[in-house]
Symmetry: C2
Subunit: 601 residues, 2 copies
Amino acid sequence: MSESMHGLRRTHHCGELSKQHVGQEVVLMGWVQRRRDHGGLIFVDLRDRSGLVQIVFSPDVDEAAFKKAEAVRNEYVLAIVGKVQERPEGTANPNMVTGEIEVYAHTLRVLNRAKTPPFYIEDHIDVDENLRLRYRYLDLRRPEMQHSLIMRHRAAKSVRDFLDNHGFLEIETPMLTKSTPEGARDYLVPSRVNPGKFYALPQSPQIFKQLLMLAGMEKYFQIVRCFRDEDLRADRQPEFTQIDLEMSFVDADDVMSLMEQMIAKVCKDTIGLEIKVPFPRLSYQEAMDRYGSDKPDTRFDMELKDITPIAAKCGFKVFNSAAAGGGQVKGINAKGCAAFSRKEIDDLTAFVAVYKAKGLAYMMINEDGSVKSPIAKFFNEDEIAAIKDKLEAQPGDLLLFVADKPAVVAAALGALRLHLAQRLNLIPEDRWNFLWVIDFPLLEYDAEEGRYFAMHHPFTSPVEEDIPLLQTDPGKVRARAYDMVLNGVEVGGGSIRIHRRDVQELMFKALGLGPEEAKEKFGFMLEAFEYGAPPHGGIAFGFDRLVMLLTGKDSIRDVIAFPKTASATCLMTQAPDVVDPAQLVELHIRSTAVVKNNSDK
Amino acid sequence: MSESMHGLRRTHHCGELSKQHVGQEVVLMGWVQRRRDHGGLIFVDLRDRSGLVQIVFSPDVDEAAFKKAEAVRNEYVLAIVGKVQERPEGTANPNMVTGEIEVYAHTLRVLNRAKTPPFYIEDHIDVDENLRLRYRYLDLRRPEMQHSLIMRHRAAKSVRDFLDNHGFLEIETPMLTKSTPEGARDYLVPSRVNPGKFYALPQSPQIFKQLLMLAGMEKYFQIVRCFRDEDLRADRQPEFTQIDLEMSFVDADDVMSLMEQMIAKVCKDTIGLEIKVPFPRLSYQEAMDRYGSDKPDTRFDMELKDITPIAAKCGFKVFNSAAAGGGQVKGINAKGCAAFSRKEIDDLTAFVAVYKAKGLAYMMINEDGSVKSPIAKFFNEDEIAAIKDKLEAQPGDLLLFVADKPAVVAAALGALRLHLAQRLNLIPEDRWNFLWVIDFPLLEYDAEEGRYFAMHHPFTSPVEEDIPLLQTDPGKVRARAYDMVLNGVEVGGGSIRIHRRDVQELMFKALGLGPEEAKEKFGFMLEAFEYGAPPHGGIAFGFDRLVMLLTGKDSIRDVIAFPKTASATCLMTQAPDVVDPAQLVELHIRSTAVVKNNSDK
């Protein structure tokens, strides 16, 4: 058999060589990071997945190899044979893991040449992301990208080891499945064999994993691709990966306790981080009250303080009418920001307006403890003192208030809290604040649609004693749901599921699905519940997001090998693309778009 | 939090209880396998994933539990609390793992009721597969199905452990990708954001894994879903799972050697099977010559014997004209079948006709060593002796011959060999004959299409010294490819890939792709080759098929949790299905099929 490596067999990786190899002959293969000529010698930094090592070509060692090395350029692929030597006194490079040694090469094979890459193959480059995505195979050569994918691999391995040890079975569920109502928009796949019919790519394996519990598999998991055809935001991709699992005969505590152990193991196995279990738990209500968010970032304070009782009695109409109308008045303390300019305050007011807050009241605490504020005149001294007390105000602080419906107050102040924390650099980077949010409402009312929607999904179990409320006061029903939050990001969410047909039917009814419609859309599921469904529950983690947080990246695109852009395209392969019209004919569809087509050429 | 298990927490699994638990109080949860009343007691076999255990309800132990147990039916979901006791003398059940003990229950909670299932939840049922697929969640409760999925999980875990230990990274590649020419039919996904454009679901991650090698990842693997929209045969599914891997700086020997170690580990970790490495290697030519197949089943002999030299000189025109025209005459020895009837021979002739053999000549060896055959008269004694010698004929044997083009001879006799082996029960069930087939031709000529096709795929590297032949005699070029075969089934196939742009262009040219077309379809790949592509190669295994063989199943449907039928439908969910016409509008497509639509109702 012919050998593309000219019969050479790699003996070591570049980055693993050290003083202990001095004197050994090694065969290395990798890419040229850079070449420089100095003192009649040629130096090449050779790179492979493990790191860099310096190769030296000397005419005294091998004339032919030296000659060949002269033609070598960045990103050429080389195989070299040489001897490891300690670097001469004073030339060791402390910035390089292998900096104490170098390899004197007596043989060089150029395995492939390379054009000059469109950007440097090194960390911290300032390059347009689109260029990086177009040449993703070059972008991924950069050590920080390799590190991300290595961490991703390790995280997945860690999860699998943990779950295997705990009796879970990884079971693959279909990708070509059925369109799910009550979800996001589906990606559809036309069927050739069944004209006019379509598969949907799964938004999650929710129904299948529940059916696996009905099938007696007891403990299921899967690290699985999911799909949502939504308009993309910074941390969304049309296809994403989920750690998905489900257990039978468990309650919420069982799931939460096991999952915090799993996540603790992942943190340790990837970045060596020790985290404490159990995680703190916050009720949904407490999270909304204190942080204005159901995924609170607890790495810093600046909690929301309720001054509604004070506001109710004050002379400021905006405050007291909000309080009177069932609304709230709450504030946060931006410590040390009393010197904010009018312009800065205006910007903050504009910021909360996005969250539908009609205004942003403020009080600046002067050095002498007095208050500077356009609304100060509406409050008596006791009220001012009570407010300052409530918000733990000190001289130099800026107090910011929103008065509105509770949902608006929470959204506006919750966002403002995060905004200010970032701006004021209040967030310690080395904290890993995991917590659970529990006791969610089962349903939320959508005023526009005029009906209830499932806060998690329609299979979430209500708390047993709240079941009667489903028919009388659905908004009051609590869910047996739990979200895992890390540093203000929801990393996982799950629930105990409904396992009784009658309860599932009540739930569909609460969602406005008539019996006919429920049967048509979920008939097989309702039928399945009649054949001995065990109590069960589970959870799903956004794997991309988890790896992003573990590796300290800002975007999930940096932890996905071949991500798509915000317009859901792959800049490298140009997917999606036009296809041969004959393919569409076979699939019984016609494009209604007017585009330049392959066949027009 | 409300507890659906009424506050009970499972302490043991049914199947793990034994004499060592006698005297312990246990909490068990599971399904009722069967209930019977005997001697004033109620016996329930309770089943969970681990197995069965006998529960006893006695009015003397707990009147209420006994009363409740009277209402229990098959497949009810129960939680019980009770004490493990040794069964009375003479009542142990040796057919049950837990047959020496039983659990006297003092508490019973009915967690869910069940209707009578449409078939028995037990092994070896004789039920229409469509019914099983429709109620897959019940079918999967059967121990043999659970065993299949457990083995599948273990096989995947074993592969991942092995590859992780060998420095491989599991890297996920896109599911929404680009339609691939030169492959099977693609499943397409219309893009909403990019009107008139389509993603394709991957037939394999071939291009992406090669780009990962260009990206310096060095060792990649993935257990990954792949899709082919082909007309389905017994062992095909529209979506299937592949163990996919790729390595840089390796030759074919490196890949084959590592892969046989991996498969040996999988055999051991799943079914405890020890297999010997290295595997035997057969060249493609030898496999075709001796077995008439590039995936030979070597568990039995009956090899194809070439009698062309004898046939060339004989008086039988069919034989000598085949030999003269560049064809072959080959035979197999159906030992002990000399008594086959005229009808049986006719059936065999019809069988080989499917493979385009124009006839099937035969010789029966009489007890006295003489030959009974319609064609015997065309051969002299020496020729008959030579043929008998070549086929190692003994009295009682039946010799069968095909004279035709080599491809027809191989196909016909290769299939006939397998057919007879099955019919004559020659295949030992306990043999695990792994082997490699190597030295494949790179291209095969398709006379109908009038051009060459890649025998593996267009990225397979030719043997170095054969590269010039690509332009002069493409059919002669050998590929650096290798297939792993188990008991006559191809379980994996791979190759060293082309890593030079010039060679890839020659390959495309040999396949009849003009430079423009090649650039349009594979431009990004050709461009990528210019930036320092390392030598690389890999392999892919059909995971479903591998698990099927390991578990001794006849169909991959039995090792897939939710498979589809031959018409690519899921009988449980009714996927594919009609969708809301508004969904199609958003996707810029229109259905050309005339079907009853949701909106017509």
